[in-house]
Amino acid sequence: MKSYLMRLLLLFALFIYEGMAADLENNGSSVACANGVAVSEDGSDNGFDEEFSSCDQKVYDPLEGYNRWMTAFNDKLFLYLLDPVADGYSMVVPQPVRIGISNVINNLKFPLYFSNNLLQLKAEGSARELARFIINSTIGLLGLIDVATQIGIKPAREDFGQTLGYWGVGSGIPIVLPFLGPSNLRDTLSLGADWAASPLSYTGGSYQIPNNALEASGIKAVEMINTTSLHLGEYQSLKKDALDWYTFLRNSYEEKRRKEIDE
């Protein structure tokens, strides 16, 4: 009953979303500055103006005020909570163990990666993810060691946002999520499907490990602390590259997602 409700909700959300996306297109204000519009006046620039978008056109970002606020909130959360906790954790738990935990978590997310490869009819990606799961779950001691990557079978991670993008759903407006950071309307609405496919979330599926939402949040917290502990200082270093942290994150996220979907 619950999962039926979820699905109905998702369908409804998608329906509204499609309407909004169509609206956006009609207004002619597009979010992505995907393709270069500028044409070089002379041929002396080696064609760079066509290759790089000039983005003179402003990004359609009606939630910008909220997004900026949430980016600042996440920033404080990271710098004053997640980062110090992860730093302390990294001093207590040796790195090989933390890499092991990260490997186990990724291995358990196999249904998510695999199903989204299938939904995009990607035979090679599906095969790779299946092979990775089988190898890492057995020789890799229940996912603890990423043997597959070591022998050259690289991950082919796909999520439901990418699946929707693959089938032509545009990204919609940018939305910054609490704790999770930059996203957009499509990817935010896809989270429900991702959670339903992941054995580490709690949406009522019988294959899911947590028994309630609290346990699922606990697992998510461990995952976030563990991941941060493997990347200490990187956030601060990246922030130095930005003139404006919010637009830096927003633009990088869009570009990354667009390329992930195009692959």
Partner: protein
């Protein structure tokens, strides 16, 4: 006299070989050498990183075209700058890129870098694909080369790191900045 001439010719050959950097079919092998030389430098932990700075940039400088990067990053605004402003901007942008790159090197801890081959995407563009096997993830790094019309030289004008173009990121940020502020303020800020 003839000995003198031979040594001049030899020297000239050496110099031009350096100046006319990388021939098309050698891009991957040259980059292979450079990447491994840099990772060997980084793996040697006794010397502090800052002391290796000179050696690292000596390896990088002749394939990275900082001036072109600066020009692309500024987009159409570049042509509105005076030659002095262009020079100053290019200089500061080069320093920013180098600082940023150098700052990232402290995160290197014996990750494996794998080159995945080069592809000629256009007659004056080559992409060299590589992957960094990180602790918990695999990152794509794509080095993008262009062939300069005047010198026929292949040089790097952009790098995609984890699917995000470095120069495109700067270009958007600078365009945003210049919407409200002047070029001089930008030069001061970067």
């Amino acid at each position: 006299m003839s000995r003198w001439l031979i040594s001049v010719i030899l020297l000239w050959a050496v110099v031009t070989n350096i100046l006319f950097a990388v021939p098309e079919n050698k891009i991957e092998s040259v980059m292979h050498q450079k990447i491994h030389a840099i990772s060997d430098l980084l793996k040697e932990k006794r010397t502090p990183l800052i002391k290796k700075k000179g050696k690292i940039f000596a390896l990088v400088d002749d394939v990275f075209d900082y001036k072109t990067m600066a020009r692309i990053a500024l987009g159409r605004t570049w042509k509105t700058l005076t030659p002095d402003q262009q020079q100053l901007f290019a200089k500061k942008f080069e320093r920013k890129l180098k600082d940023s790159y150098f700052d990232k090197l402290k995160f290197y801890s014996d990750q494996k870098v794998v080159l995945k081959g080069q592809k000629k995407v256009k007659k004056n563009r080559i992409k060299l694909y590589s992957q960094i096997i990180g602790k918990d993830d695999v990152y794509d790094v794509v080095y993008k080369f262009y062939k300069d019309k005047k010198s026929n030289d292949w040089k790097i004008y952009d790098v995609d790191i984890a699917k995000v173009s470095m120069i495109q990121t700067y270009r958007k940020q600078f365009a945003d900045f210049l919407r409200h502020k002047s070029v001089d303020e930008l030069i001061k800020t970067i």
